[in-house]
């Protein structure tokens, strides 16, 4: 009898070895160990055996069962491993196929430069403020010491709405609005659109952006202005940036200056970006005229201050080497995607 069990056991083991996959293996297991399986059937014979053989036979069948289960488990693991290996092999991909496109949008270059400048001044403790783009003549000219017959009016070529209202030609108008509503100490910058009656060409647009800065407190000096602008230039164009102040004459600033920065492209040696000069004019600045302070309700005997302003498109073009300002407002995807 025992031999017979051994025989079954051997057959079953061989069948399990032969099983090509898990399904076949499970079938073999059912065939021998299932409810109606061969070994299970052998167990049923136990009742018919004499008492003396019962124990031995029972132990032999159970032992066979255990062994077969072990063999089964072993082959099951083997088959699963090989099936997984096969699956992974089959699932290999061509890693050189193109990537799924993640297309994030692009910030407009003018905004990038505007935000960069804003961040520098926020870091220096400046408040960002805004003012209206359609503005009273008073804020754009009169309060800035630019009376009706001043040649600056013609130079700035305003687009007018009526006698008293125009499209602001400079963000300097915001300086006046800030001075009117705030008491010193004032540290503010304003950015935004300005407008001039000039035809669009490579260098000019009728609609562009400026950033304006304003500092007013007791004891603010021209040397403070120089220091602040130099520090701005280093933040903006790197530690090696040098600055140069040329006297100028803004009606609202006295003394006033144009600031040149050493060419950020060639470092000052001279190149096409700086027209060979080694220097690039980047902003206008000056001490706020006492008349302007007084007109806006700030006592010029107690306070002094400085202001500065720059054209954002111009800086953007220089920084990103854009040769035609009109590209900035054309909004071609192939252009925008480069920034």
């Amino acid at each position: 009898m025992k031999k017979h069990i051994e025989e079954i056991c051997r057959e079953a083991s061989e069948a399990m070895v032969r099983a090509a996959d898990n399904d076949a293996l499970a079938k073999v297991r059912r065939q021998y160990l299932g409810k109606n399986g061969i070994l299970t059937g052998e167990m049923k014979k136990l009742k018919t055996l004499p008492v003396g053989e019962k124990a031995d036979f029972g132990a032999a069948v159970n032992d066979a069962k255990t062994r077969l289960e072990e063999v089964f488990a072993e082959h099951r693991d083997r088959l699963e491993r090989s099936a997984l290996r096969k699956r992974l092999e089959e699932e290999a991909i061509d890693v050189t196929l193109p990537a799924t496109k993640i297309q994030a949008g692009h910030t407009h270059p003018v905004t990038q430069v505007m935000e960069e400048i804003q961040e520098i001044f926020i870091g220096m403790g400046y408040q960002v403020v805004e003012g209206p783009e359609v503005e009273y003549d008073y804020y754009n000219f009169e309060a800035l010491n630019i009376p009706d017959d001043h040649p600056q009016r013609e130079e700035q070529n305003p687009l007018k709405i009526n006698e008293n209202i125009l499209l602001r030609t400079q963000t300097t108008s915001v300086e006046i609005r800030v001075m009117e509503r705030q008491r010193p100490p004032i540290c503010a910058i304003a950015s935004g659109r300005v407008f001039r009656a000039q035809e669009a060409d490579r260098n000019d647009l009728p609609n562009f952006h400026q950033i304006e800065g304003l500092v007013i407190d007791k004891n603010i000096t021209f040397s403070d202005l120089k220091g602040t602008m130099a520090s701005f230039a280093r933040h903006m164009w790197g530690d090696l940036a040098r600055v140069k102040f040329r006297p100028y004459k803004y009606p609202y600033n006295e003394p006033s200056a144009k600031m040149d920065v050493s060419c950020f492209h060639c470092g000052g040696k001279g190149c096409p970006v700086c027209d060979g000069a080694g220097w690039i004019e980047v902003l206008g600045c000056g001490m706020i005229h006492p008349k302007v302070l007084a007109m806006s309700g700030i006592d010029p005997d107690v306070y002094s201050g400085f202001g500065f302003g720059l054209d954002v498109e111009r800086i953007t073009m220089l920084k990103m080497q854009i040769s035609d300002i009109r590209l900035l407002y054309e909004n071609d995807e192939s252009f925008l995607a480069q920034f």
């Binding site: 009273y136 017959d149 130079e155 009526n162 659109r193 006297p247 006033s256 006492p290 925008l336």
Partner: protein, 806 residues
């Protein structure tokens, strides 16, 4: 403005600098020198030659062989086609190896000059070139009196063999100078020379003006009446008898030519010369043709026309200041005269006018007449009335010197509003305080004196020079002192301001959120003009009564296309999408954050309301629902956490009537979105579906909040259930959602529409909706029964709306 170094040196004789030094120092003192060039840059080895003999070329009828003595042992042989020379003439000769600006028979402009070579012309050797004015480099301004094909002939005294360029005064430098517009004094040679003297710390030599008048009285010749002393603050005139016209001397021609002014005759050249030197426009009239020997300055009459010297008939009116004789106008004051009183022959008596007109008036009138002249440009800048008399006298001096006429005694000076010097108290401490410097007061006084300022020690006043009306107060004195002292010598410090906190206003923070979000979803930022074309309203199919049509008009627009301030951001967005479609970009998603301008009142005396719009537009990729998703995410990020309501009755004519909605929050419309009407899209050149969304930022800023707070975490179990409903085709999902929520009770923790299906398996006029429901209780683990009860209630409620379980 252009000026030569030699002209400046006339008044600053001690000036000795290289052109580059001059340019650098002047620029750093505030007078920008934008360019300079040597007038003789292309002239090399040109000497004075004396013609020994001449003979016809044996083989060319129109050529002459000239033997020229050039001060060496051996004379040289030249060949020329010119016929204005004779034996004994002294002429400029460019030697072999030398250089001329260009050859007289070539049209090309010789930017690098032409090298002279030994040549053989029809068998005869030429060893040099006899020069016309063209070879000498001033063809652009050449006068009729010295045509290009004639050889230039020197005066007798020119030394043979000497450097011709030096004798011609061509070893000079031409500077292009851009003074600040407020420095009116620097737009004239004298003022500029004074500035040069101040900057270099050299003495300034004022021209000494002296001339003789005859015994007669001007009043016997001329009467002048000025009827508007505001627009004409000064009118000076002198009478010149028996004027003799002819060419002006070469030195004067050369000075004018080098500054780009064409010499005409002695009288015109004198007026131009004085206009450059003094900045004062001068006009000459033929006195003999003046009716009544009278000049009247008065306003014209509406509807009148006047023919100006350039032959154009111009509309003048009661706004226009006209110069008239006793019967009729003879010129438009300060802008241009007429032909009748032009001085055109010798022997006549003339009036020389030096007037001053209101700058703003001339600017206005000049643009109204669309006529800008050399004199109108000068007046428009705002002239100092003091120049009138000085300039007129200087002209008389030159007239006398050049034998151009006899000066009648006396000058007519009407109005004579003259602004004199100004007194400004001298405050060195305040100035040092403002500049952050410690400049000694003596040094300040020295710097100011260079500008012509005087110091009155008794009153401690600075007395400003005449012609410097821009010096008004201590601030300007500080400006002058600092620039002459040198900006580079002023220390560099950082302001010690009481601490201020850097910050971005809420509105700009929200704009940044909008931008970041849009870019995250693939939208690129665009920038378009604030101007718009009035045609935009028709293109957007807006009805006549649409309030958007009420836009602010610009009085002086650049063109009709840029003539209004936009009241909607849609037009430019669609144009931009159209441009990209035309350029074959398969898809494009764009956003813009910029203002629209809504007028507040009809009279336009108030500033418009500027409303910042967050505009999204896309074709080829994102559809209505994608854009709706961005809009909702934007609202959530700015703290508007409730789900907005979408009202399909938004009635935007430029949108697809079945695919548009107002975005409503708190009962307020805060924006809209929709697919663009196919006809509108086509009009903008886009043949695909286009979706746009506009969020009105002021509405969002006023509701935004950035104070998120933790509301606890519910860890009790959740139960998920899907229900599949049959819904009438026309019933919006938003309604079904509301009906479910009405009945669900507190246990329904999340509700999502998972799928909408319409097809054969569903009855006609119906659609199937699969809703995903998730239940959770706040205080205990929810039971199956509780969820089932809630669903039962929901379904019961839905039957009232003809919605049943599928």
């Amino acid at each position: 403005m252009k000026i030569t170094l030699s002209w400046i040196k006339n008044y600053v004789p001690e000036l000795s600098v290289t052109p580059q030094e001059f340019a650098d120092v002047m620029t750093m003192s505030g007078t920008k020198v934008s360019a300079w060039e040597r007038i003789d840059r292309n002239l090399e080895q040109i000497v004075v030659g004396k013609i020994r003999w001449m003979m016809k070329h044996p083989d060319a009828e129109n050529l002459t062989i000239v033997t020229v003595d050039i001060g060496t042992d051996r004379p040289i042989q030249c060949i020329t086609a010119a016929d204005n020379i004779k034996q004994g003439d002294r002429v400029p000769v460019a030697l072999v190896g030398g250089k001329v600006d260009r050859l007289h028979d070539s049209e090309e402009s010789g930017s690098d000059g032409v090298r002279i070579q030994r040549e053989t012309i029809r068998g005869m050797v030429s060893e040099g070139v006899l020069c016309s004015v063209k070879e000498l480099g001033f063809i652009r301004e050449t006068t009729d009196d010295s045509p290009a094909y004639e050889i230039f002939v020197f005066d007798e005294e020119a030394e043979v063999g000497a450097d011709a360029v030096k004798i011609l005064g061509l070893s000079d430098v031409l500077f292009t100078i851009e003074p600040p517009s407020a420095r009116k004094d620097c737009f004239r040679v004298l003022g500029l020379a004074r500035e040069v003297a101040a900057v270099f710390g050299l003495p300034f030599r004022d021209p000494a003006v002296r001339f003789a008048e005859n015994e007669e009285k001007i009043e016997d010749y001329l009467t002048v009446k000025v009827r508007d002393g505001v627009l004409c603050p000064r009118y000076c005139a002198r009478v010149i008898k028996n004027v003799q016209l002819g060419p002006s001397p070469r030195w004067m021609q050369r000075m004018l030519v080098s500054c780009g002014i064409r010499p005409v005759n002695n009288l015109v050249d004198i007026t131009n010369f004085v206009m450059e030197e003094y900045g004062q426009p001068l006009l000459a009239f033929d006195l003999d043709s003046l009716n009544g020997h009278t000049l009247i300055l008065e306003h014209g009459e509406d509807g009148n026309k006047f023919r100006t010297l350039d032959g154009q008939l111009r509309n003048v009116g009661s706004q226009t200041l006209m110069l008239c004789d006793s019967q009729m106008p003879i010129g438009i004051a300060g802008i241009m005269g007429g032909a009748r009183t032009k001085v055109s022959e010798s022997g006549r008596n003339i009036v020389l006018e030096a007037a001053c007109f209101d700058g703003a008036y001339i600017r206005r009138m000049s643009s109204q007449l669309e006529l800008t002249t050399e004199i109108s440009k000068r007046f428009a800048r705002g002239l100092d009335a003091n120049y009138a008399e000085d300039g007129l006298n200087r002209a008389c001096q030159l007239i006398e010197e050049l034998g151009c006429g006899e000066i009648v005694g006396g000058m007519i000076d009407e109005c004579s509003t003259v602004v004199g010097s100004r007194r400004i108290s001298f405050t060195p401490d305040w100035i040092n305080h403002l500049l952050g410097t410690r400049i000694p007061r003596e040094e300040m006084l020295e710097l100011l004196s260079r500008l012509g300022c005087e110091y009155d020690p008794v009153n401690n006043d600075i007395i400003t020079p005449i012609g410097r009306q821009d010096l008004e107060s201590e601030a300007e004195l500080a400006g002058e002192i600092s620039r002459l002292y040198g900006y580079d010598k002023i220390p560099v410090t950082i302001p010690r301001v009481e601490t201020t906190r850097g910050s971005l206003p809420l509105k700009m923070k929200i704009e940044q959120i909008a931008g970041n979000l849009a870019e995250f979803y693939g939208y690129s930022q665009i920038m378009t003009y604030s101007f718009d074309d009035p045609v935009v309203f028709d293109r957007l199919r807006l009805p006549e009564e649409s309030p958007l049509r009420d836009a602010i008009r610009i009085q002086n627009p650049l063109s009709e296309e840029l003539s209004i301030m936009r009241t909607t951001s849609i037009g430019h967005m669609l144009s931009t999408l159209g441009l990209n479609a035309e350029r074959k970009h398969r898809h494009f998603s764009a956003y813009e954050i910029a203002n629209i301008y809504i007028p507040r009142d009809l009279s336009r005396s108030e500033l418009p309301e500027e409303r910042t719009q967050f505009t999204l537009g896309a074709y080829g990729r994102d559809d209505f629902f994608a854009m709706k998703g961005i809009a909702e995410e934007f609202l959530r990020r700015t703290g508007l956490r409730d789900t907005p309501v979408y009202d399909p009755a938004s009635e935007k004519p430029f949108l697809h009537p079945g695919r548009q909605a107002n975005i409503v929050y708190d009962g307020q419309i805060i924006g809209f979105l929709g697919e663009v009407h196919p006809l509108v899209a086509e009009d903008y050149g886009i043949l695909q579906r286009v979706t746009i969304a506009v969020l009105d930022l002021p509405e969002i800023v006023s509701r935004a909040s950035f104070e998120p707070h933790f509301t606890g975490l519910n860890r009790h179990t959740r139960i998920s259930r899907d229900i599949n409903l049959l819904v009438q085709e026309k019933t919006p999902a938003g309604n079904v959602r509301r009906w479910i929520l009405d009945q669900a009770g507190d246990l329904l923790e999340r509700l999502e529409l998972a799928d909408v299906y319409q097809g054969e398996q569903i009855g006609k006029g119906l659609k199937s909706m699969t809703w995903h429901l998730r239940f959770q209780a706040s205080d205990h683990d929810i039971t199956e029964e509780e969820a089932a009860r809630s669903i039962e209630r929901i379904l019961r409620g839905l039957t009232n709306h003809k919605v049943v379980l599928r």
